[in-house]
Symmetry: C2
Subunit: 216 residues, 2 copies
């Protein structure tokens, strides 16, 4: 389930309203998905809500019943990648992976998969973030900082535990974030390398940066 | 001298026309610089040539005597970062640095400096490349591929020479390119870290990725 759907679900009252809230989540996701593709193809500034409504075969008032305006749709798009990444991070840290090396490898693997699956959303975020309202921009930035901070913490603990090289600066978290964030700008499903190969290489690169490779 | 200026210089006839060609280069650079800042602040789609002319205090026909249209200015902006990086790469490879480790460190240092100095140009490229003509897009992509290819070649040779770890895949060049390209999206001159600190960390990260750290 996507971050958008999850958020809508969590906000919904429990009990017999749940089917209705699933419909809401489904429609919200469809709007975000179609708008993301349009913004990706044509640019946010060149797209109107009419374009989004036309593409979905709905009316503009229908859109307004789910999103306040075009910027609110952009904010939802921009939040998908980081929300899903944070969820993956939290699940990995709470999971059963033994040791820091395995945890780092697993979460980089999962987040790499997310940015490849959500390629268009991430690229729209990177290109169009300047069109976000100050509030949305700040909120998403806080999510990203939280992500970087938790990776830095994991690295610090891994160093302390002696699993990562002792000369590893936890600022390496920012470089690992860069490796991951950069993938959507160059990866092509039609390219030489499969998503799995790219993710394997990403994990290897992240472990090198963290001084966390398996001893031979 | 910037890539734009260099290009204009190289195209100019030698001899007594050189002062004139320097004027041309100066004006071309000023147009690119002012347009880059406008596109960075407001977005390419939202800016007109009138905005660029107003900001420079010149007429639109003046702009047309240097650039065919708005897209040609965008292309010049987008080319600055990669052209200067390629020039730095070629100078480093032709220079006196001993060994592959020193060469890699030196060129990553120089290119890191370029993307920080040219931050707005690089961000405009990353955000607005979809507005480039197919010809300009392809040309700039070829320059980027040439850069990646030469870094990959350097890594391959460093591995063969035994300076870099033998299990280093030359695809690491793409990850190093990612580290560098990602800097302009997060680095802030007003942030905690100085440009020099960021560049030192970048060099250390690139050497780790290449398995090229100094032995202790």
């Amino acid at each position: 389930m996507s971050a958008v759907a999850r958020k809508t679900r969590d906000d919904a009252p429990s009990g017999n309203a749940s089917l209705k809230s699933e419909f809401v989540a489904f429609k919200t996701n469809r709007i975000v998905e179609v708008a993301s593709h349009l913004f990706y193809e044509r640019g946010y500034s060149s797209c109107t809500l009419d374009n989004v409504a036309d593409k979905l075969g709905v009316t503009k008032p229908f859109l307004y019943s789910y999103f306040k305006n075009k910027e609110a749709i952009l904010a939802a798009i921009c939040e998908v990648g980081i929300s899903e990444s944070l969820a993956a991070l939290e699940a990995t840290l709470a999971g059963e992976h033994q040791g820091y090396r395995e945890r780092l490898a697993e979460l980089v693997r999962q987040v790499g998969r997310i940015v490849i699956d959500r390629q268009e959303y991430v690229v729209v975020y990177q290109r169009e973030m300047k069109h976000l309202s100050a509030t949305d921009h700040e909120r998403i930035l806080r999510l990203r900082h939280s992500f970087d901070h938790q990776i830095a913490e994991l690295i610090r603990e891994g160093v302390e535990a002696g699993e990562f090289r002792e000369d590893t600066d936890s600022f390496v978290a920012v470089w690992i974030g860069g490796l991951i964030s950069w993938i959507p700008t160059w990866y092509s499903p039609a390219g030489h390398r499969t998503a799995d190969e790219v993710i394997d290489q990403l994990v290897a690169a992240a472990l090198r940066l963290a001084g966390a490779e398996k001893p031979k």
